[in-house]
């Protein structure tokens, strides 16, 4: 374990540690663009300069391994000059189009300029023009003129997705990132290149121009796209959710997430949600508050308690919710007719070798654990037979939250709607359910961003997550629904309207969302 001194502090590091890794660990500030801890070292941005005692030249920290007794600093005037010039070289041909750049507000170039730059530019010549709005593939757009050629994206496609769609073309300051003719940036992890792009060169077609990032709040949670359980950050404001990005977790997802997972915000937004409970009889629907609807059902459910009732669960809810609903059915309604609705049976066990798993549920392990705990052994065949022979009269369904990954949704609705009473609880609206003519109650549930809970991923790792925001304030969590169905009184804290976008530490001079909304032209222009 070599010991070294970094900016006057003695640090002990593992054998083979580079200076930049040690500085990161030590929380020392160091400028860099091309270095990314999840990729190989390129050493091309030449910003992470450090001075090593005994060496007349400044060195790059990303490709220099620490040796015993090394004395390193990146605070000397020599290093500051090198960094300043490094930034200057990056900026001379970079457009100053921050007001229209999608990355403004989270741009590495802006950040580093503010931290290490702040000088008068000396470039008086015309900037090098490059290509604008290059369509790289189904998910990503490149604005080549903003690219600082850190090569992170190229290395990502070479080393992580192993699809090698991207390359560096041409030479000198005419160099551009691109794909060869006939090839598109089209892989299951393509949007990671947008995350790792330190400037606004690579932008997501889905997010591009939809929001300025300073109007967004973010919160860490767990991706519900599959059983990997990637750690992610969701970005939202009063208007809803806008994007999902990965958060580093060495045990689970490293630095990355898949493109499919990035779509999970789409089923949380109001436009696709069931906003009120609906009670249907013969095709006539009555809207109710969800809590009231659940409470109203409790009397009839209690009186029908026993094996004439069945509960169908999907693996998209939290451990806490499963415990609540399963124990309600077992203990209050005295039935063990609880069934696991498995989606994608054929591909359930598949794995792409990186992150994506065929089990498109975040909490299969959590559900199975709860079922096992309560001694539930019922199989789907029992349910089908029970409905067909009339022994099962009431079916309560919870889920799915993400209907897009349940290809058999239509068939299951047909199958389960044959029961005399159907109570279907889920977050999203569904036209087929809304068209049912029987005795049906639909109850809106909250999505993963609106509740606290625990998911257990494919490897058995329990991951707790916190509520990020509230989108449909009246919707219930599954445990709240369970309590109400059991006839218990509960207090539902309906957040005040402002709670959906609680602004803290807002600068007095910051432009307010409300002010922006007044600019109708900008607001209604939509995405390009």
């Amino acid at each position: 374990m070599p010991k070294c001194t970094i900016n006057g502090k003695e640090v002990e590091v593992k054998e083979g540690t580079t200076i930049i890794e040690a500085m990161y660990k030590n929380k020392d500030s160091i400028a860099h663009y091309c270095y990314h801890p999840g990729l190989s070292v390129a050493g091309v941005c030449r910003l992470c300069m450090v001075e090593i005692e005994g060496n007349p030249r400044v060195q790059i920290a990303c490709n220099t391994t620490i040796t015993e007794g090394m004395k390193i600093n990146n605070t000397s005037q020599k290093v500051k000059d090198a960094t300043k010039w490094g930034l200057d070289f990056h900026l001379i041909n970079h457009p100053l189009d921050c007001p229209i750049c999608d990355q403004a507000g989270e741009c590495g170039l802006q950040d580093q300029y503010m931290e290490f730059g702040k000088y008068d530019p000396e470039m008086a010549e015309k900037k090098q023009k490059k290509h604008k709005v290059v369509d790289l593939g189904p998910t990503v757009v490149l604005d080549s003129e903003r690219c600082i050629l850190c090569s992170r994206c190229v290395r990502f496609t070479d080393e992580v997705s192993k699809t090698s769609e991207l390359g560096l073309f041409n030479r000198g300051d005419r160099t551009e990132i691109g794909t060869v003719e006939g090839v598109q940036l089209d892989n299951k992890y393509s949007l990671n290149v947008v995350d790792i792009c330190p400037v606004g060169a690579l932008t997501s077609k889905d997010f591009r121009f939809r929001q300025r990032v300073w109007y967004l709040k973010d919160s860490e949670t767990v991706c519900t796209g599959c059983s990997t359980g990637c750690n992610v950050k969701v970005y939202f404001n009063k208007e809803g959710m806008f994007r999902v990005k990965p958060v580093f977790n060495e045990q689970v997802n490293g630095h990355w997430m898949c493109d499919e997972g990035r779509d999970i915000y789409k089923f949380t937004n109001k436009e696709v949600r069931l906003l009120k409970a609906k009670k249907g009889q013969g095709g006539n629907w009555t809207e109710m508050a969800p809590g009231a609807a659940a409470k109203e059902l409790s009397a009839s459910l209690k009186s029908a308690a026993g094996d004439s009732m069945a509960l169908v669960l999907t693996a998209q809810y939290t451990v806490e919710e499963y415990e609540a609903i399963v124990s309600t059915f077992v203990n209050t309604f005295k039935t063990k007719k609880i069934f696991f609705w498995i989606n994608n049976k054929e591909t359930f066990e598949t794995f792409d070798g990186l992150l994506l798993r065929g089990d498109k549920n975040p909490n299969t392990k959590g559900l199975l654990k709860t079922l096992e705990k309560h001694g539930i052994t019922a199989s789907w065949g029992d349910l089908t037979a029970g409905i067909a022979n009339g022994s099962i009269k009431t079916v309560v369904v919870a889920g799915p939250e993400n209907q897009a990954v349940f290809p058999d949704m239509k068939d299951r609705i047909n199958e389960l709607s044959k029961a005399q009473n159907l109570i279907w609880m889920q977050a999203g609206s569904n036209d087929q359910l809304a068209a049912l003519k029987g005795n049906v109650t639909l109850i809106p549930l909250k999505t993963f961003v609106e509740k606290d809970g625990t998911f257990i991923n494919h490897q058995g790792l329990e991951q707790k997550f916190k509520r990020a925001t509230t989108i449909v304030s009246e919707a219930l969590t599954l445990d709240q629904a369970a309590s109400l169905l059991a006839g218990q009184e509960i207090k539902i804290a309906v957040p005040a309207k402002v709670e959906t976008f609680v602004e803290t530490n807002r600068r007095p001079d910051e432009v307010m969302l409300e002010h922006r909304k007044k600019n109708e032209f900008v607001f209604k222009r939509g995405s390009l």
Binding site: V44, W85, G86, H90, A124, S151, T175
Partner: protein, 429 residues
């Protein structure tokens, strides 16, 4: 005075073919070397003090000894990319004496334990490529390449690889990238090629002239080789003399030969009516010397380094008093801007910036502060990149500006050349 080791038989056309080459002592040293222990050859090359003739001047034997003791395959790459402006010695060697290179390469390959070598030739060198290909075929037919060479049990295969014509592929790791089929871009060091080179295997990269010289070290022995040149710069070297001299061409002289003698004796002196103004002594990337400095210079690594310049590839570019230094720098900055691989930011952006500033001056739009800016930009490109191209672009700028500042200042003030009295447009049209 010419001390001819390498070029003794270059005047003979027959030296190009295998029979003529053998008639004049060809492949004798190969047979001798194959009877030696590989380590003996490495030791002999080390003792000779032979320094790489491609530009960097790194001791060849020392480079060979960086190879890991065990592990195969290992590769020998001959750097025949020769892209440095002013340098044309390797072309001559390949055209006039291909077997000399091949013999030197087989001996070197035997010494380092390589069974496969490539000669990486710049793509523009069509003729040398065809000459080398023919010579390699002859060597295979004569049992000098392939399996069990001269019954020694040593196997070796050799190929010629034609580059796509990028200057930076002359840099050893850029060349390796190109040979691997990737864009010709230098790689981060460490790891050095001797440890992880071509296809991530131990690799030695040597210049044409370096490898050819190995034959003569085996022939005469290290001590005899050291009789040429100086203690730190032993041996002979080919110098490519160009510019406004009477007899431009390649001249083999011992290292430490006076530069002024190369110009006046070998090169026949300046063209009538012209005076020596400056010399770039080691290819276009070497800092320029004034006429006064040239008088004192000898052509060896130490002397030129001591004078703030370098021997480089040995390309002596002679500049006479009719040349505008601002215009010449415009040519150089254009070249390095065009050839920067685009990988490291200071070089990618800096070479373009330098070129824009110099051309802004040439077009009469320069500001006095641009001269200082040129120095600042160049100074901050030096030593900040993966390879030396950034330095190669910066060093001429710094030396041109510091040694001929009056010409730059005049150009900025007057919008025309001090030497030629004309504008850039008038100069070139």
């Amino acid at each position: 005075m010419e001390s001819k080791l390498l070029t003794e038989f270059y005047h003979l056309d027959e030296f190009r073919g295998i029979e003529g080459y053998k008639k004049n002592g060809g492949y004798v040293e190969l047979a001798k070397a194959l009877k030696m222990q590989p380590q003996q050859i490495i030791d002999e090359v080390k003792a000779s003090g032979l320094r790489g003739r491609g530009g960097a001047g790194f001791p060849t034997g020392t480079k060979w000894s960086f190879l890991p003791k065990n592990g195969e395959p290992r590769y020998l790459l001959c750097n025949a990319d020769e892209g440095e402006p002013g340098t044309f010695k390797d072309r001559l060697m390949m055209e006039r004496a291909p077997h000399q290179l091949i013999e030197g390469m087989i001996i070197s390959a035997f010494a380092i334990g390589s069974k496969k070598s490539y000669i990486y030739v710049r793509g523009e060198y069509h003729y040398p490529i065809s000459v080398l290909e023919k010579a390699i075929r002859e060597a295979y037919d004569a049992g000098l390449l392939g399996k069990n060479i001269l019954g020694s049990g040593f196997d070796h295969d050799m190929d010629v690889y034609s580059g796509a014509g990028a200057y930076i592929c002359g840099e050893e790791t850029g060349m390796i990238s190109s040979l691997e089929g990737a864009k010709g871009q230098p790689k981060l060091k460490p790891p050095f090629p001797a440890v992880q080179g071509y296809l991530r295997k131990p690799t030695i990269v040597n210049n044409v002239e370096t490898l050819a010289a190995v034959k003569y070290i085996i022939r005469d022995g290290a001590a005899a080789y050291r009789k040429h040149g100086t203690e730190k710069s032993p041996g002979t070297k080919l110098f490519s003399l160009s510019g406004n001299v009477m007899k431009p061409g390649n001249y083999e002289v011992p290292l430490a030969y006076p530069l002024i003698d190369l110009i006046n004796k070998e090169g026949g002196g300046m063209k009538p009516g012209r005076k020596l103004k400056a010399v770039i002594p080691g290819g276009s990337s070497a800092p320029v010397m004034t006429a006064a400095e040239v008088e004192k210079a000898t052509l060896d690594y130490e002397c030129l380094a001591g004078m703030g310049t370098m021997l480089g590839s040995g390309a002596v570019i002679v500049i006479d008093d009719s040349q505008c230094m601002v215009d010449m720098l415009g040519v150089l900055t254009h070249f390095y801007h065009h050839e920067s691989c685009g990988q490291c930011t200071p070089c990618r952006e800096g070479t373009g910036w330098l070129n824009k500033i110099v051309h802004s001056i040439l077009e009469g739009k320069g500001r006095l502060q641009d001269i200082e800016l040129l120095e600042k930009v160049a100074d901050n490109m030096k030593g900040r990149t993966i390879c030396a191209l950034s330095d190669a672009a910066a060093l001429p700028v710094l030396s041109f500006v510091s040694k001929f500042r009056d010409e730059f200042e005049f150009y900025v003030r007057e919008g025309r050349s001090k030497v030629k009295g004309t504008t850039y447009a008038e100069m070139h049209h």
